[in-house]
C-alpha cells in the first residue's frame, strides 16, 4: 500500500468521523443558542405571542353605557360586590337604572337571539311544560355569557301590590326550576332576578317577535307582560 493511499484512507476516515459529528455539534449548538435567546426574551417580557386565554364573552353590544347600567343593576341585586342578596324590588330597579321604562327595555334588544319570554296564565305563576322547555333551551345555551337575567312582569289588571307579588313569584319559580334542573354551582352568582310588577318597563309588542312559550299565533301587550323575560348577557364587567 502506497503512502499516498494510506494518507487518502486516513483522510477519508477523518472526514467520515467529522461529518456527522460536526453536523451534530453545529445543530445542537444552534438550538441551544435559540433556547437561550427565547429564555432571555421571555425574561424581558418580549417573548413570542401565546395562544389566546380562555375568557367569558364580551360582545359588541356591551357598550360602556350598557356596562354601567348592568353594573348598577347587578350590584343592587347583589350579584356583584354584594353579600349575595338576590332579587331587586321594582322601585330599586327603577332607581338603579335611572332611565325610562322604554330605555330600560331597549338595553335588552340586542339580546334577541340569546333570550326569550316565558308567558304565564293570567294571575298565575306556575310553569308549564312549554315554559320550562323555553327556559331549558335558553339557559343551556349559556356559551360565554356571564349573567342570566330573569325580569318578571305582570299585566296591569289587578292591584299594584298583587302584581308586584305575582311578578316576584314568577321570577322565583323560574329560579327554582333552574336550581332543580341544572346542578350549577354558579347559579347564585350569575342569575339576576328582577320583578317589576306592572309599574315599570312594560314590554312593547315588538317583543312578540322574540322566542316565546305562549301561543305563537296570539300576542298582545297584556300577554307578553304576564311573563318572565329571560336572557343571557354576553358582557363582562
Amino acid at each position: 500500500m502506497s503512502v499516498v493511499s494510506n494518507a487518502a484512507r486516513a483522510g477519508v476516515l477523518v472526514l467520515a468521523l467529522a461529518l456527522p459529528t460536526v453536523a451534530v455539534v453545529t445543530w445542537t449548538g444552534s438550538a441551544k443558542g435559540r433556547v437561550a435567546a427565547d429564555q432571555a426574551q421571555a425574561a424581558a417580557g418580549t417573548g413570542k405571542g401565546k395562544a389566546a386565554t380562555a375568557s367569558a364573552s364580551d360582545v359588541g353590544y356591551c357598550s360602556p353605557d350598557l356596562k354601567r347600567i348592568l353594573r348598577r343593576v347587578l350590584q343592587s341585586c347583589g350579584l356583584i360586590g354584594g353579600e349575595g342578596v338576590r332579587g331587586c324590588q321594582p322601585v330599586q330597579a327603577r332607581s338603579v337604572a335611572t332611565m325610562s321604562g322604554s330605555d330600560f327595555n331597549a338595553l335588552f334588544r340586542p339580546m334577541k337571539e340569546r333570550g326569550g319570554l316565558v308567558e304565564f296564565e293570567k294571575a298565575k305563576s306556575e310553569l308549564g311544560a312549554e315554559d320550562t322547555a323555553v327556559i331549558d333551551q335558553i339557559f343551556s345555551d349559556q356559551r360565554g355569557a356571564s349573567y342570566f337575567f330573569v325580569v318578571a312582569r305582570a299585566s296591569p289588571e289587578g292591584s299594584v301590590d298583587l302584581n308586584r307579588e305575582l311578578s316576584r313569584q314568577r321570577a322565583e319559580n323560574v329560579m327554582s326550576h333552574l336550581r332543580q334542573t341544572f346542578n350549577d354551582p354558579d347559579l347564585d352568582k350569575e342569575v339576576g332576578l328582577l320583578w317589576l310588577g306592572e309599574e315599570f318597563a312594560q314590554l312593547e309588542e315588538e317583543f312578540c317577535q322574540w322566542r316565546r312559550s305562549g301561543d305563537p299565533n296570539q300576542c298582545k301587550a297584556e300577554q307578553i307582560n304576564r311573563s318572565a323575560f329571560i336572557a343571557w348577557i354576553d358582557c363582562t364587567l
Binding site: 493511499s5 459529528t21 445542537t28 427565547d38 339557559f139 343551556s140
Partner: protein
C-alpha cells in the same frame, strides 16, 4: 486488482451518498426542534429544493414515538436518522476503502460490506412497517432512506457475489492444472499461479488468487469497531450537547382551581395509584389523538390516573373560537360527558373515527350526534339534551376560571402543566420527570395547593 470503482461499488457509493443526504435532512429537521419551537420539516423526494411543510406525513413521523430512542434520557430522544446518517457515512467510507485498497474482489471484505448494509435495510423494513401500520404516514424523506438502503444492499450483495464468483473461477483455474497433473502440490500454489500479480508479495492463506489474500478477521473486526465508533461518537455528542430542557419542567404554570366544582371532569383512563392528571381535550383534535398514541407507545400511561376536561374547538358551542375548527366536536363532547365513567370508550371511538365524524359534521353538528347515538344507543337521549349542553358549557367555563390557553391538548400532572412544547417530541422526557417529582412530592411548588 482495480482501484477504479466497479459498477456495483458505484451503486453502493451512490446509495450511501443518497441515504446520507436524506438522513442528514431528517436529522437536521429533528435537531431544529431542540429549541422547543414549531418548525416546518423537509418532506420531499428532493430535500432542500422544495419548501418545507408545517404539517405533513414527515411531520407526523418525526413527532411519533418511533422517530428516536432514549426519549426519557434526552429531550426528544436521539433521532434514529442520526444513526442512519452515521451508517451511511460508514458505508460510504468502507466502499471508498475497498477501492483504495483494491479489495473490490475480496469476498470477505465485500461480504462484510454486504452484512453492514443489512443494518439500514433491516431497519428500513421495520420502520416502513411501523410507518404504514401504526402511523399511517408515508414520509417522503423516510422513503428516500428506505430506497437508499435498498440500493446499498443490492450494490453490496452484487459486489460480494461477484467477488465470490471471481474467487471460484480462480480456484477452478488453479485446480485444473493439478487435475491435469501439471501442479506440484500445495507448496507450489504458495509460489503463485500464473495470474498472480507481481505486487502480491505474500499470500499467507495459501490461496493463490489474482490479487491480494482476503482480509484477515482482525481487519473485519477493526472495520466493525470503526462502524460502532462512527455511530457512537455523533450520538454521544448529541446527548452531551443537546439543550437542557429539565429547567422548563414545572415552569409552565398550574391550575388556578384544580377542584372540579362543576362536576365536569370525566375519567378517561384510570389507574389506581397513578399520578392524577387532567387533560384539556377535544375528542376531534388530531393533536390530542397523536398525544394519546405517543402516550400509549411510551409506556407511561399506566403511571397516570387520567381525567379529561372537554374543550371542543368548535364554534357551535365554544364562543372562544371563531369558526368550527373541528366540526362536530361539540356533539362528540356531549357524548363523552354523557358516558360518565365510560367516557374513555367514547374518546377512543372518536379518535378512531375523527376524519369520518368531522366530514359528516361539516355542515351541521347534528350529523355527529347521529353517529354518536348510533354507536352508543344507551347515550342517545342524553346526547343533545339541555342538561348535557349546560354541562359542556360548564366545562368551557372551567377553562375560563383557570384562564387556560385556547388550545388542545393541555396536560396537567398533579395540577402542574406539562409545557406545550413538551407535548410531542419531549413528552417522555418531561412527563417521566413530572411523574417522578410528583411521587416524591417535589413537583408542586412549596405553598401550592
Amino acid at each position: 486488482m482495480q482501484r477504479k470503482p466497479h459498477l456495483y461499488t458505484i451503486l453502493v457509493l451512490a446509495g450511501a451518498a443518497l441515504g446520507l443526504l436524506f438522513a442528514g435532512f431528517s436529522t437536521y429537521d429533528f435537531a431544529r426542534h431542540l429549541d422547543r419551537q414549531v418548525h416546518s420539516v423537509n418532506c420531499s423526494f428532493v430535500p432542500g429544493l422544495t419548501a418545507a411543510e408545517a404539517v405533513s406525513d414527515c411531520h407526523i413521523t418525526m413527532m411519533s414515538h418511533y422517530s428516536s430512542v432514549m426519549r426519557e434520557t434526552v429531550w426528544g430522544g436521539v433521532p434514529i436518522s442520526l444513526g442512519a446518517m452515521s451508517v451511511f457515512v460508514f458505508l460510504l467510507l468502507f466502499a471508498v476503502e475497498l477501492c483504495l485498497t483494491r479489495r473490490q474482489e475480496d469476498p470477505r471484505a465485500t461480504g462484510f460490506l454486504a452484512l453492514a448494509t443489512l443494518l439500514p435495510a433491516g431497519t428500513s423494513i421495520i420502520m416502513g412497517i411501523i410507518a404504514f401500520s401504526k402511523l399511517d404516514a408515508a414520509c417522503k424523506l423516510c422513503i428516500g432512506i428506505y430506497f437508499s438502503s435498498a440500493v446499498v444492499l443490492v450494490g453490496a450483495l452484487c459486489l460480494w457475489r461477484r467477488a465470490q464468483q471471481l474467487r471460484r473461477a480462480e480456484e477452478i483455474g488453479r485446480l485444473s492444472p493439478r487435475e491435469e497433473g501439471e501442479g506440484g502440490g500445495p507448496s507450489s500454489w504458495a509460489g503463485g499461479g500464473p495470474r498472480r500479480a507481481a505486487s502480491s508479495s505474500s499470500d499467507e492463506s495459501g490461496m493463490p488468487r489474482g490479487g491480494q489474500a482476503p482480509v484477515g478477521w482482525g481487519y473485519v473486526a477493526g472495520a466493525f469497531a470503526l462502524g460502532v465508533v462512527l455511530v457512537a461518537v455523533p450520538a454521544a455528542a448529541y446527548v452531551a450537547l443537546a439543550p437542557d430542557h429539565s429547567v422548563f419542567i414545572g415552569a409552565c404554570g398550574d391550575l388556578v382551581e384544580d377542584k372540579d366544582a362543576y362536576g365536569v371532569m370525566v375519567p378517561t383512563d384510570r389507574h389506581k395509584g397513578g399520578v392524577p392528571s387532567v387533560e384539556v381535550l377535544d375528542p376531534l383534535c388530531p393533536a390530542c389523538r397523536a398525544f394519546e398514541s405517543r402516550l400509549e407507545a411510551s409506556g407511561l400511561r399506566q403511571e397516570l390516573d387520567r381525567w379529561a376536561i372537554l374543550f371542543p374547538l368548535d364554534s357551535d358551542c365554544n364562543w372562544m373560537v371563531d369558526d368550527r375548527k373541528h366540526p362536530g366536536a361539540c356533539a362528540i363532547s356531549e357524548a363523552v360527558l354523557c358516558a360518565g365513567e365510560h367516557a374513555g370508550d367514547v374518546v377512543d371511538w372518536a379518535f378512531a373515527q375523527q376524519d369520518a365524524i368531522k366530514g359528516a359534521a361539516a355542515s351541521s353538528g347534528e350529523a355527529a350526534r347521529k353517529l354518536a347515538r348510533e354507536r352508543f344507543p344507551d347515550l342517545a337521549r342524553c346526547i343533545g339534551s339541555a342538561t348535557v349542553k349546560a354541562k359542556l358549557n360548564k366545562s368551557l367555563r372551567w377553562a375560563v376560571r383557570n384562564q387556560l390557553p385556547v388550545l388542545t391538548p393541555q396536560v396537567y400532572v398533579d395540577s402542574v402543566k406539562l409545557c406545550d412544547e413538551d407535548i410531542d417530541l419531549g413528552m417522555e422526557f418531561a412527563l417521566s420527570r413530572m411523574i417522578a417529582r410528583s411521587r416524591d412530592g417535589s413537583l408542586r411548588k412549596r405553598g401550592a395547593r
